[in-house]
Symmetry: C2
Subunit: 102 residues, 2 copies
């Protein structure tokens, strides 16, 4: 089941920058953005050496910033980049982020 | 007298995003970036409807993110964008920010 995300038009640039300010969250976005096929990935496949509650917080911050969608499959949670909508709302930001974290 | 700023190489992208997450700070940067002459401006010329201590905090966040330099002239504080150095460290970010806040 897909988890709730805000309509992309309601996402504020401040939220996006707050989400990207954290290095673990930034690494997730850069890694997802590098996969041009926009495939779905298990959330557990991202290294996050933090407590479960902190992980939950990180994923929520990314959802609320319009950067990802998540699907709870019962046996795990899966994530993909919300690339097209995000790019429409914040053109160029993903490309700049990717270039800056190379 | 110029106020202390970090060497640009010590500025982390997370700090930059944290600084730009705030709408007042973002507005200052966008306004400074729009002036291609990189002229110095009185800090008081930026509308900041907040307490003095909050203003101080905002200016410090921008300094520590490598975005500005400030000069205390006794009769006021002046600011300019640290454009060349910032652009060298974070290429494309100012242009993307400007485009996104149009």
């Amino acid at each position: 089941m897909d988890m709730v995300v805000p309509p992309i038009g309601e996402v504020d640039l401040g939220q996006v920058f707050r989400a990207l300010a954290d290095p673990l969250r930034r690494a997730v976005v850069v890694e997802l953005a590098a996969d041009a096929s926009d495939g779905e990935r298990a959330c557990s496949s991202f290294p996050m050496p933090v407590a479960k509650s902190t992980k939950t917080h990180h994923w929520r911050a990314l959802r609320e910033a319009g950067l990802i969608v998540q699907r709870d499959a019962g046996n795990g949670t899966f994530v993909r980049l919300r690339r097209a909508e995000f790019e429409q709302q914040f053109p160029g930001l993903l490309a700049t982020l990717t270039a800056l974290t190379r």
